[in-house]
């Protein structure tokens, strides 16, 4: 299940709803990304996430389907916010449920790595020196590349 929304979410409540009443899940792995203030002159006062409505949903669905193809997952959830948010607020939530922990861990890391390099979101940070667009990193590209199939 994927969801793109402006409003904050409650990671615990979302995860609880996903797993409610189920006795077939052995492992529930979740990732939550949070706006980080940072230090010194680079400290972030707020962040605005722009996205590409329509393509965002399609791309997240593709990424989720790819994770389900690669690992035996019993339930998955991806929530990604857009709009303005302040340090400490949640940006993204990915939850993967599987019988065994390794599949749940790998699928969750994979979803984040692909999401970081494929989902059409762009971060605009507000700092004391003004607003600036966050640049993509080679580290994120490398992280996504480790999931490439032969």
């Amino acid at each position: 299940m994927i969801r793109v929304q402006c409003a904050p979410f409650d990671a615990g409540a979302e995860t609880a709803a996903l797993t409610a009443g189920r006795d077939d899940l052995g492992a529930v792995v979740s990732f939550q990304g949070v706006v980080r203030r940072g230090d010194g002159p680079d400290a972030v006062d707020a962040m605005t996430l722009e996205h590409y409505p329509g393509m965002t949903e399609r791309e997240l669905e593709r990424i989720e389907a790819e994770a389900q193809r690669r690992w035996p997952l019993q339930a998955t959830l991806v929530i990604h916010r857009y709009g303005r948010m302040e340090p400490g607020e949640p940006i993204v939530l990915v939850v993967c449920c599987s019988r065994h922990r390794r599949a749940a861990f790998d699928a969750c890391a994979f979803l984040m790595d692909w999401l970081k390099t494929r989902a059409p979101f762009w971060k605009l940070e507000e700092t004391a020196a003004g607003a600036r667009w966050v640049e993509a990193t080679a580290g994120d590209e490398a992280a996504a590349a480790r999931w490439s199939e032969p």
């Binding site: 990304g33 996430l49 722009e50 996205h51 590409y52 329509g54 393509m55 399609r58 791309e59 990604h80 940006i91 993204v92 984040m112 999401l115 970081k116 390099t117 494929r118 989902a119 059409p120 979101f121 762009w122 971060k123 605009l124 667009w133 966050v134 640049e135 993509a136």
Partner: protein, 84 residues
């Protein structure tokens, strides 16, 4: 054809989207980018810098500049994504 721009590319071009009449000779993503670059200095600079502009045709990532485009498509240009 609808053209969309995102993030700082949107600022450079000065608009979030535009409707264009696709010239008959423009049939690929690469040719479309070149044609748009001829109209917009801000877009041209980014377009000619390797690795800076990404493209989606009908909301699907396209990495091959030889990929086809045609009237009715929605084509988006944007910087590398930074979500998550």
């Amino acid at each position: 054809m609808r053209i969309r721009y995102f993030a700082w590319l949107r600022h450079r071009v000065g608009t979030a989207d535009e409707e264009i009449e696709l010239p008959a000779e423009v049939t690929t993503v690469g040719a479309l980018g070149d044609w748009l670059a001829a109209r917009s200095p801000g877009f041209k600079e980014a377009w000619q810098t390797p690795g800076v502009v990404r493209v989606a045709v009908n909301q699907t990532h396209v990495t091959d500049t030889a990929a086809a485009v045609k009237t009715g498509d929605e084509v988006a240009f944007f910087p590398p994504v930074t979500g998550g």
